[in-house]
Symmetry: C2
Subunit: 240 residues, 2 copies
DNA sequence: CACAACATTGTACGTTGTAGACCGTACTGT
DNA sequence: ACAGTACGGTCTACAACGTACAATGTTGTG
């Protein structure tokens, strides 16, 4: 049985337990396994990260994976922390907090674009990893220079990141992509018959939003709109 | 094979296909199955809604479920629409848009509190259901009287609902509940050894936020804080 | 040299969603 | 009244999943 999750997360730390040198040398390090799992997830989503597929990708048996990782859930945490650690944030420089928050948002959107499967990982234990903690530490500094308190600083960052996550899930999973567009066209006929003249407002707004969504630049427009709301909302919470 | 999803969603509509009267009468209606599935989900989460468990709860075989529902994924859509339809929104009355948005947010939080499994349903086809459309139609009216355009009206509502969803997922899944508190106490010792004196800001803010989270009224405080940001952010987007 | 720690493997279990063939029932057209 | 047919329901079975368990082989340490 491998080391506990916290030790695996901090395996590159100098104070990490080395692990006895007895027995055969492992053909792969934990980092290799995690990197391979990320590669699988990047091209096939989290569903492609099965223990067996990962094992085959590493040319070993399914059970050998458990030499390096305690469980699949632990693996997802390790993958997430690795992605967070590899993230190279845009430097804040001397920018004001509004610009800094924009950079945090943009960086996180880029992260979720590169690794859409991060949207499917909802494990609180990710907060235990060095990559996630470093990311947290950096992003908190977006509010340096404002008069915001510690608790509100955490709340404000959470507010921003939640927005990014929600928006990203709508941006990343393209609505017209795949078979949903096809399904939509099959359904819209019978749907129109059911709705009839009811819900006029919903129909009007839904059609407007739907048509705009077909347009080329709408994803960016919606993103900009929401981000403006976020920053505007934080305006009076940062002491001006 | 049952009728397609759209017809099942609108099964109570007068223009819905009645379905030939041949063959034995079904022991349960589609509504019964959906209601039973919701009951299971309410007490055990989505994971408790297995086809077999649902079947046993209805005293039939697993495969009989597929007489009423095309697939488990379809069932989740039906459950969601049912929950949306059963939602009785707080009337807007003559309240200004700020109050209306608060009511929309509060109502949705209450909905997600009552049915936490809704947080785990991420199927775009829910938008096809009468309950969801009626909900959409009503909530769009929160911005009646403002000078907001159609596209922005949709974006603004999405903005509000996204916030509610993110907050709710943090409120509903209690952090100190279950075995996470136990795991935390096991991990915090070795974690402190790893972190050391690095990430001072993250440690300070994290501790402050963590301690506040232990407090009794923090969930509500964080909720109020975020909702204030949301409304403040929408302020200049509604034309005053 | 014997022992212990370790990586690796094969087999197997329980659980999931659901396809396919089949049976009996109740209505429909002749 | 009788055949045809649409339908609800059941049984069996499959592929895929995560992973527990026992066994085998390999390496360093006493």
């Amino acid at each position: 049985m491998p080391r506990p999750l916290v030790d695996l997360l901090w395996r590159d730390s100098p104070s990490a337990p080395t692990g006895g040198s007895r027995g055969p040398r492992a053909r792969y390090s934990t980092g290799d396994v995690v990197a391979r799992a990320i590669a699988l997830a990047d091209e096939g989503g989290l569903a492609a990260v099965t223990v067996r597929a990962l094992a085959q990708s590493l040319e070993m048996t399914a059970m050998s994976v458990y030499t390096h990782v305690n469980s699949r859930d632990d693996l997802l945490v390790l993958m997430t922390d690795h992605a967070h650690a590899r993230m190279t944030p845009t430097p804040f420089g001397r920018a004001a907090w509004r610009t800094r928050v924009r950079r945090v948002a943009d960086d996180n959107l880029a992260l979720l674009r590169a690794h859409p499967w991060l949207l499917d990982v909802a494990d609180p234990r990710t907060a235990l990893g060095p990559g996630t903690i470093a990311k947290y530490d950096h992003e908190l500094r977006a509010f340096d220079g404002t008069s915001i308190g510690d608790i509100h600083r955490d709340a404000a960052l959470t507010f921003v990141l939640d927005f990014v996550r929600s928006s990203a899930s709508r941006i990343v999973t393209r609505p017209a992509t795949g078979d949903f567009g096809q399904l939509w066209e099959e359904s819209v006929a019978s749907l129109a018959r059911y709705v009839g003249d009811d819900f006029a407002l919903a129909q009007r707004v839904g059609r407007a939003a739907g048509e705009a969504m077909g347009g080329p630049h709408d994803a960016e427009r919606a993103w900009e709109y929401g981000l403006d709301r976020v920053i505007s909302g934080l305006d009076d919470a940062t002491g001006g």
